[in-house]
């Protein structure tokens, strides 16, 4: 028997049976925070940690052809191969960052604008909100298929519309230089509503006083937005950027649905995700593919870490 008298041990001792053994119910009580988290932790361990560890292991072997074939441990050779690949890997990194960067900027600026419009009550706002949320509920693959038809160079709706006003037909998804831009447009179309939702939630929770005070002091609406609303909204904006950024980096479905394997004949929309997928499923080079995925994972973690740092700074 210990003679400490901290409340915790007192509680523990109180629950002990005369023979000195702890009752199960008390044990569960004292460890409840772990107990309740256990299912979630088991879930994470099995469904996230294990695949990640397995991918890391594969990336250090020469696994190819079949996952069950004998493999040799080759250390960092795959990483050397990938990092020195200027034909597919680095362009894919570039495209991933371009896609994410442009899409994010468009989505946040547009999203902020729309959120400000919806901020104050107006007639028919219910309908407008529903209309704005529609793209969100569509399946990305279906969206890809739909835009493929709309942007078809020969029988597509967009080119026929342009033809009516005398603008020559554009190649859109099938052009080497226009394909990535078109997929970015699709991403913006589909995901801006999510940014609107997050920012609108942030706006409605702002207090009115600073805004009113500024109004009394004679600040115009631009000043009020840039010096009051935006700084107060910054934490929310960063949350939106975080959530959307992770998703945009990982975009796969609309790219695959519109351009298929390899991101088109010139790899014009081949982002890291599409590249890693092709390495695995088309070339069966599991080692290389895993190395690409691990590097990709690091890029995501790195950029998210930077953003959370930024968030801490603005939240102070």
């Amino acid at each position: 028997m210990s003679v400490t008298t901290s409340p915790r041990s007192a509680a523990r001792n109180a629950g002990r049976a005369p023979n000195g053994r702890e009752k199960f119910s008390d044990w569960t009580n004292t460890h409840r925070k772990w107990l309740f988290a256990a299912p979630a932790m088991a879930f994470v361990a099995v469904l996230i940690a294990f695949p990640l560890a397995w991918t890391l292991y594969l990336s250090l072997t020469d696994s190819q052809g079949s996952v069950r074939a004998a493999t040799e441990f080759i250390g960092l050779e795959n990483y050397m191969t990938v990092l020195s690949d200027v034909e597919r890997f680095w362009p894919a990194v570039g495209r991933t960052l371009t896609f994410t960067g442009i899409a994010l900027v468009c989505e946040v600026v547009l999203g902020m604008g729309i959120a400000l419009l919806l901020w104050r009550p107006f007639r028919g706002e219910k309908w407008v909100r529903v209309a704005i949320l529609l793209p969100l509920v569509a399946t990305p693959v279906a969206v890809g298929m739909m835009f493929r038809l709309i942007f078809d160079p020969n029988i597509g709706f967009v080119n026929q519309l342009l033809g009516m006003v005398g603008i020559p037909a554009q190649p859109w998804l099938s052009g080497q230089d226009t394909a990535l831009g078109t997929t970015i447009f699709m991403d913006v179309w589909q995901w801006t509503p999510m940014v609107v939702l997050i920012l609108l939630a942030g706006l409605t929770s702002l207090s009115e006083e600073p805004d009113e005070a500024a109004r009394v002091d004679g600040a115009n609406s631009f000043q009020r937005f840039f010096y009051i609303t935006l700084p107060l909204m910054m934490p929310t904006v960063i949350v939106a950027i975080l959530l959307r950024g992770i998703d945009a980096l990982k975009t796969f479905d609309i790219l695959y649905a519109t351009k298929g394997k390899g991101g088109g004949s010139f790899h014009e929309v081949e982002t890291l995700n599409v590249y890693a997928y092709g390495l695995s499923f088309d070339y069966n080079q599991y080692g290389l593919s895993s190395a690409v995925l691990i590097l990709f994972f690091m890029i995501i973690i790195g950029s998210m870490w930077l953003l959370t740092m930024r968030k801490k700074a603005v939240s102070k």
Binding site: K23, F24, S25, T28, N29, L35, F36, A38, P39, A42, F43, V46, L47, G65, S66, V67, R68, A69, P153, N154, I155, N159, A169, Q170, P171, L173, S174, Q176, K259, G260, K261, G262, G264, S265, F266, S280, F281, D282, Y283, N284
Partner: protein
């Protein structure tokens, strides 16, 4: 009371987490011979016919068929995942002997059917054509049964040819001249259309390559995509599409896209596999159904040498615990009766007896049957590089096709592709 409820929660939580994590495992534990045959098939005219006939197989054998049907890309992904994991969830699989055959055999995914094919003289393995059988045989073992054969033929629009006062082109020069003439006299109509996607176009380009006297590799397995003949073929195929193709040609077209342009009435000539002809002649799918004519591939400097290949076969998954019943399904699906029925429905089959039976070609347009017969005589037995990682090889040798379509220098692209292809071939040794 309270104590018990905490326990209960803990137990439920534990059970839940177990349940959640167990989801990943396979749900079925009936690895023994079961009465259900799980069949995975690709979207194809052949599959439609089999699907309709499955009830008769079920009632005659007492087995149940569980059918999964997927598009080509999804199908190969599905196989990649499931066969890699050694899953027994697939019994019978429809596969492409020339695309996945070598890799699957090498990985030991395909069950050895050698004994089974020779066990039934009524079903008659010897009736299958030699070329297709060679493609479904690996290291002397039979690993698959061919179901569909294909040759590249010329699809053309009778009305446009007539209006231009042209004969059906017999040579590559004539084809080019006809495509040019029609494009010039019919604004908005392309003279020629074909697949343009880097990897999708390789198989259809192969016939042009052979007809110009080239090939992807020589007999010793060295790359020959930079030969003078190959360069000429690349320039010709790409030039046809660039100069006489649709106005805004996409470089991602596989057969559904190219076929759509032809069946929308937007192109005069189209080179494609004969097994897809129904798409062009079926009024439900084609605006020009009654105006389509067929001819053998026009002759190049080396003659008319289209590919003549088994595009699809049926195999049994090595990991399946249901191999005998799987074989029963294959035996039924590839029997003489079913093959005849499929062929009459528009799917060229691999059985010699069905081809020699007048009924076998009774439903075909007469000109198509003639084109097929001619192509079967002088066809080449492959339409893509014969390697293990076909996907990668196709991307490499397809590069000059796309370069040529977009107006870049085909010869230079062929040299670049040659180097990459040789490197690839060396890595596979």
């Amino acid at each position: 009371m309270k104590r018990r409820s905490v326990m209960k929660y803990a137990a439920v939580a534990a059970a839940l987490s177990m349940g959640l994590t167990a989801c990943g495992g396979s749900g079925s534990s009936d690895a023994k011979e079961s009465g259900t045959v799980r069949v995975t098939l690709a979207n194809h005219v052949w599959t439609e016919g089999i699907k309709a006939a499955i009830p008769e197989f079920e009632s005659s054998t007492g087995l149940k068929v569980e059918l999964t049907q997927l598009g080509e890309d999804q199908l190969s992904d599905q196989y990649n995942v499931k066969l890699n994991a050694g899953s027994d969830e697939i019994d019978v699989m429809m596969y492409r002997p020339l695309q996945e055959g070598k890799a699957f055999a090498k990985n030991g995914y395909l069950a050895d059917l050698t004994e089974k094919v020779s066990s039934d003289s009524g079903w008659d393995w010897k009736d299958f054509q030699e070329g297709p059988v060679k493609a479904t045989t690996a290291d002397g073992k039979v690993v698959g049964v061919p179901i569909i054969t294909e040759r590249e033929v010329l699809y053309y629009r009778k009305d446009l040819l007539q209006a231009a006062g042209l004969e059906v082109p017999k040579t590559m020069e004539e084809l080019e001249a006809a495509a040019k003439a029609i494009k010039e006299s019919n604004p908005g109509t392309a003279g020629f259309v074909a697949r343009t996607g880097k990897s999708a176009a390789v198989t259809q380009f192969s016939s042009f390559l052979f007809s110009f006297g080239g090939d992807f590799m020589d007999a010793s397995g060295k790359s020959t995509v930079n030969s003078a003949e190959a360069k000429e073929a690349y320039a010709y195929y790409g030039g046809l599409i660039k100069n006489y193709g649709p106005a805004n040609v996409s470089t991602d077209m596989s057969w559904p896209e190219a076929m759509a342009i032809f069946t929308q009435g937007q192109a005069a000539f189209y080179t494609e596999a004969d097994s897809l002809y129904k798409n062009a002649t079926d009024p439900a799918k084609s605006k020009v159904a009654d105006k389509v004519g067929f001819a053998a591939l026009p002759a190049g400097p080396a003659g008319s040498k289209p590919y003549n290949i088994p595009s699809w076969g049926l195999a049994v998954n090595e990991a399946s615990g249901n191999q005998d019943n799987a074989w029963k399904f294959i035996q039924w699906a590839t029997g003489k009766e079913r093959t005849l029925a499929a062929q009459k429905a528009g799917v060229p089959g691999p059985r010699a007896s069905v081809w020699s039976n007048p009924e076998g070609t009774s439903t075909y347009p007469k000109d198509l049957a003639e084109a097929i017969a001619a192509s079967a005589k002088n066809g080449v037995g492959h339409d893509r590089p014969e390697v293990v990682t076909v996907g990668k090889a196709r991307e490499i040798v397809g590069e000059p096709i796309v370069a040529s379509i977009t107006g870049a220098d085909a010869a230079a692209a062929a040299e670049t592709a040659h180097e990459a292809f040789q490197k690839f071939l060396d890595s596979e040794k």
